[in-house]
Amino acid sequence: MSYPVLKGVGYALVNTPDMIVHNGTTQTTEKIVNPESEYLKVIGDHIRKYEEVLNYAPNQVYIGNMKPEDLRGMEMPWADKGAKTAERFGKFGEIMPQDEFILLMKNADAFELVVLEKEFTEKTRTKLGAHPLYANEAAELPEGAELSVIEALVADHAEAIYNDGKLVGCVKRAHDVDTNLTAHVLFENLVVKASGILAFKHLIATNGFNVEDVDYVIECSEEACGDMNQRGGGNFAKSIAERVGAINASGSDTRGFCAAPVHALIEAAALVQAGVYENVVVVAGGATAKLGMNGKDHVKKGLPILEDVLGAFAFMIGKNDGVNPVIRTDIAGKHTVGTGSSPQAVITSLVAAPLDRNGMKITDIDKFSVEMQNPDITKPAGAGDVPEANYKMIAALCVKRGEMERTQMGDFITNHGMMGWAPTQGHIPSGVPYLGFAQHDLTEGDLNRVMIVGKGSLFLGRMTDLFDGVSVVIERNSGVTEEASSVSHEEVKNMIAEAMKDFAAYMLKE
């Protein structure tokens, strides 16, 4: 069996300070239920500048300028400690500022729904024109509109777009009565599309891929696009493929809350291994709704609002090239309907069961990438350290299975785990932020086998209260791209000849 490989990654963060206040649901809800609240009065003092967002260690890890190991020794909170580097661009992608991203939203807009102010457009067009991946898009942007036009549209159901506290544009609604085509929904969907395009472009550019070689795209964020007759009809994937010039690609959307990226990874690997497609890209954009989700707790603790970036990623799965790490589609775990919800049952089904089926031990996995939420964000909000909790559970399962002593749990967590660095954007932390490092660790590095685990809570959609999760192992490539077929051509010829002879003898007898 020839396994598919992880060919490359692209990661992007977008710093969106104004969108925290105007589009994050914690803030928009507060404006409705408690408009005079102290939180809304002081929130402006807790929003970081772009330079501070760059100079934040977890963000630099996300784009590949720092390694997950660099976070291990850093004293928390990380927010005031700075980073080793405060670069905008990194090995895997970039951290884009809000003004340029607003032009990306216009670029992503296929239905003239985004209207930007004239002066803002021209000023930012020059800035975006210097971007290595967006020079053409910047030049092609249409002229902006007068501010008065935008003010009138905002007064008539359009969703405002702010930059530096000023109105600079809006997203119009696309229908008078359809709640699925309101300006708010279209705003969120255009953000997903635009940030997905950004990560996709980085994937193609940094790896030197030819975008026309992409056969299929799977989008796996948490938004839904469609109208009142098909709320989640889709297809973000194809709309992103179109904008990046993937003219030979089709695509579709995969949903599964926070677990969707790992579902998509397994699906992409299966499509390639089955020979349906040669190169499949998995992509996801970011969610404005989750900006400042834990903002109240951060403000209460005197911290800046740390959920100030949108997250996006893209990665490509392709045919075995004998070099890149292989996706072991035969070592995949799943939380089934019958699994149950106790932590023990969940970890057993995702981690131990697929390894047992392949005669492996938990300790045979060098590194686990679980939900890699940045603990600097979650701990002050009372949600604990999510990756650490997962590693503790995996370690405890190891002890229960007699694979190691209880006293070794601490070492196991350090050696087989990592500190989290991903923004709490739901699907973004789901195992896949490690793929970029995994590609290195399993080729030039010294690891041989890693497991990617995605987990999700389905109750939020009110269709089931089941838990969900899937996992898959990625392994160092043995260098053998095609295992010898068990039956040679010569043997097949002989078998057919034998069968023909038998048939002839049977006919003669008749």
Partner: protein, 87 residues
């Protein structure tokens, strides 16, 4: 009647325990200012562990017992019970 908790850490356990004994400390829900004084235990406390089938306990909770800060939870639960439990 008793209330059984399964929260993942001491502070959250204490909050839930206080809610069903002294009343909701956050004044957010229907038990704000209502002191029920109920018996309340966390599943990792010895009182509960000794009362149930050891195999079932091991299967359902054994792993989490290794993961959670059991001593911290027990201490928090005891403090709440000593202060507010009426039974």
């Amino acid at each position: 009647m008793l209330v059984l908790l399964g929260a993942a850490e001491a502070e959250a356990s204490g909050l839930a325990a206080e809610t069903v004994t002294n009343g909701d400390p956050t004044y957010a829900g229907s038990l704000a200012g209502v002191s029920l004084g109920l018996r309340v235990y966390h599943v990792v406390e010895p009182e509960f562990k000794e009362a149930v089938n050891a195999d079932v306990y091991e299967e359902q909770i054994g792993m989490m017992e290794m993961v959670l800060d059991v001593d911290g939870i027990i201490e928090e639960m005891k403090t709440i019970r000593e202060q507010f439990c009426k039974f």
